[in-house]
Symmetry: C2
Subunit: 212 residues, 2 copies
Amino acid sequence: MSPSSVPDIVIGRLPLYLRALSHITGDGQKVISSHEMGEHLGISPAQIRKDLSHFGEFGKQGTGYIVDHLRGQLQRILGVVQEWDVALVGAGAVGNAIMRYGGFSGRGFRISVVFDNDPDKIGRRIKQLEVIPEERMSSTIQKMGIRVAMLAVPAEHAQEVAKKLVEAGVKAILNYAPVNLMVPSHVHVQHIDPVIGLQRMTYFLTTKLAQR
Amino acid sequence: MSPSSVPDIVIGRLPLYLRALSHITGDGQKVISSHEMGEHLGISPAQIRKDLSHFGEFGKQGTGYIVDHLRGQLQRILGVVQEWDVALVGAGAVGNAIMRYGGFSGRGFRISVVFDNDPDKIGRRIKQLEVIPEERMSSTIQKMGIRVAMLAVPAEHAQEVAKKLVEAGVKAILNYAPVNLMVPSHVHVQHIDPVIGLQRMTYFLTTKLAQR
C-alpha cells in the first residue's frame, strides 16, 4: 500500500505508538506484544496490528514486536530519524511554556529560532535563543530553510502570521491560537486547543450522565 | 443511532465544527453550507454531512445549516451548554500559560481551582485564583464535585497525580505531561503533546519529499 493511501486516522495514531515504544525502551524491555501495547495506550491489539500492517511486517505471530526495531521503523515512517528545525512565533506565556517543554528532546524537533513583534521581548533570550523581530521572520525562515513552525501568537494575529510563514516556505504549522487557519492545501496544520480535547471528553461524560 | 455507537473519530471532529460555527456566528453569518464549512476546516462537505447525520437532521438540501441552531445542537451534544468546573494541577510555566489562555471563555469550561506542591507557588495568585497545596487536592475536588482536570505537572509526577485525581472522582483528564497515563477504563484522557501533532505532519512532508 502506498503511503498516501494510508488513512489519516492511522497516521494520527503512529506518534502515540512511537511515544509508548520510547517509554518501553527506556524501561529496558526488548519485545512487546500488541496486547501489551494496547493496554498502555487504551487501543485494541487488533487495531494496533492493523495500523502497523499498512507499512509492512514488523512482528511475528506469537512473539510480538522487537521494540527497538519497531521504534526505528516508526521514526523512519514519521520522518523523525533526524531533527527538524522549528520556528516558534510568539514569545509570550505560551511561547515560554513551549520553550521550557521537556518533551521535544530526541523526538525529531529542535526549536531553532523564536520571533515576536513586542519590543519588550525582542532581543531577550529564552533558553539560549534570542527573540528576533517578526519583520525578519520571512527572510530568516527562507535563509534557514525551515519547513515547520509553531504559532503562539494572539488569535487576532494568527492568520496574518500563518500567511507569511507559508510564503516563506513553511509546510507544517502547529497552531496554539484558538482560531482556524486558512492555508493552501499543500500546507499541514494541527491545532493545540485544550478546549477541543476537553469537549471531546465531555461528550462521553454527558452521554453517560444521560444514560443513568 | 444511539450516541455510544457514534465512532470516536466523528466525536473528535464535532469540537472543530463547533469552533468554526462560533467564529461564523461572530462574523454575523446566519446560514452556512457544508461546502463552505468544509472550506473553513479542510474537511470534505460529504464528511461533514455524514458526521452530523449521526445526530439527526440539521440542515435542508440546498439551503444549508442555520448557524445558531447547529451551534446550539453541537453544544448540547458535547455537553457544553453549561460550564464545567475544571481543576488545574501544576502552576509552573505550562499551568501559567493555561491560566492566561483566552480560548476557554464561552466554550464550556472554567478553571475553578489550581494546585501545586511547590512551597514557592502555594498561596500565590494566578488570575484571581490562589494556588492550593496538592495535599488538599483530593478533598477539594471531592467537595467541589469536580469531574474534569488538566494535568500540567512534570512527567515523572504525572501518573501519581492522575491516580489521586481519579480516586477523587475526576472522569476526564487533559494531560500536558509527555507521558501516557494508566487510568481505569471509565476515565477519559486526552493528551496535549506538541510532538504528536508535529510528527503527524512530518509524516506527510517526508512522504512528499520521497515522492519527488
